[in-house]
Assembly symmetry: C2
Homo-oligomer: 145 residues x 2
Amino acid sequence: MSDLCDFPRLLARQGVKATALRLAVLEVLGAATQALRAQEILEMIRARRRVNKVSVYRILDDFTRRGILRRLAVDDRASLYELACEHHPPHPHFQCRQCGQVQCLDPAPLSRMWAELQGPLGNRADRIDIRVAGICHKCREIAEN
Amino acid sequence: MSDLCDFPRLLARQGVKATALRLAVLEVLGAATQALRAQEILEMIRARRRVNKVSVYRILDDFTRRGILRRLAVDDRASLYELACEHHPPHPHFQCRQCGQVQCLDPAPLSRMWAELQGPLGNRADRIDIRVAGICHKCREIAEN
DNA sequence: TATCCAAAATCAACTTAGTTGCAAATATAA
DNA sequence: TTATATTTGCAACTAAGTTGATTTTGGATA
C-alpha cells in the first residue's frame, strides 16, 4: 500500500521500540496492495523468519489501538488490516461477493459523508467505515466468458 | 425494529415453509430495536422453547442469502442481523466504542452515497454499508458525570 | 388411516480466528 | 554485572460458527 513511510520513525513517534517483528508487520502491510488478514500477514512474515502467531496478533492489536493501523470488519470472520499513515487516508472499500477481494476506493466520498454523519443523535463520531459489496470486474469477466 | 411485516406471507413469497422456528427468528428480530447477534437471537428464542444453535445459524444464513435479513459486519467477532423488509430500508449504523451498542441511523445519506460509489473501477456494486464509530450519547453522559 | 418422503431440526464433533496466562528471552537501566 | 522491564514464545483455552450424519416432522400418496 505504501512503502513511503519511515517505519522506525513512525514507531519512535508512538514511543514503541522498533523491534524486528514490529517492523516486519509494517513492511508487509506497506508492500501490500490491499488490506490483509492477520493470517496472511503471519504467513508473509513466516516466509522470512520464525514467528509465533500470538506476537503478531498482539502487535496488530496494539497498532490498531494506537491508530498506526486500521482494522476493517468484513463479512468474512477474519478482519483486515491496512496502514493508517498519511499516505493512506481513510477510504471506502469494495468487497467482491465472489472472490472476497477487498479493494481500496477513492477517499473523496468519505470526506463528504463526514459532514452528514458527524454527530447525529448526540453521538460523537470519530470514524466512518464505508464498505461497498458486489461483484468485482475480474469476477464479472470470468462469469461472462 | 418492525413488527409491521406479515412474516408468514414474507416466507411464502420466498417459497419457504413458515415453520415455528423460522417465525420465531423473524419475530425476535421484528421486536428488536437494534440489530442482534446470533447468540442473542438464540437466547431470546430459548426463553420460550428448546432450540439447537445450529438450526438458528442455518436459518440466519439462509435468510441472509435470500435477502430477508441483512448481516452487519462489526468490529466484534460476531455479526449482527436485522430485518431487511420494506419497513427497514438499508441505513448507516452507529457503533459506540465504549458500550458496543449499534444504533440505526437515517437512511438518507446512504441513498445519496449510491450515486457516487455505484460502479467505480468497473465493479458492479449491489450493497453499501456505512458504519460510524465513536462514543454514543449515553456513554458520553456517564463519562462526563 | 397408514406409509412414505422431503424438508427441517438436532446432535456431536470440528474449525477458524483469535485470547489468556505464564515462562523464556532480549533489551535497557542502574 | 545485576536488576528490571519489555517483548516474544508456548500451550491451553474460548467464542462463534460449520460440518456431516442422524432423527423428527409435516404434509403427499397409497
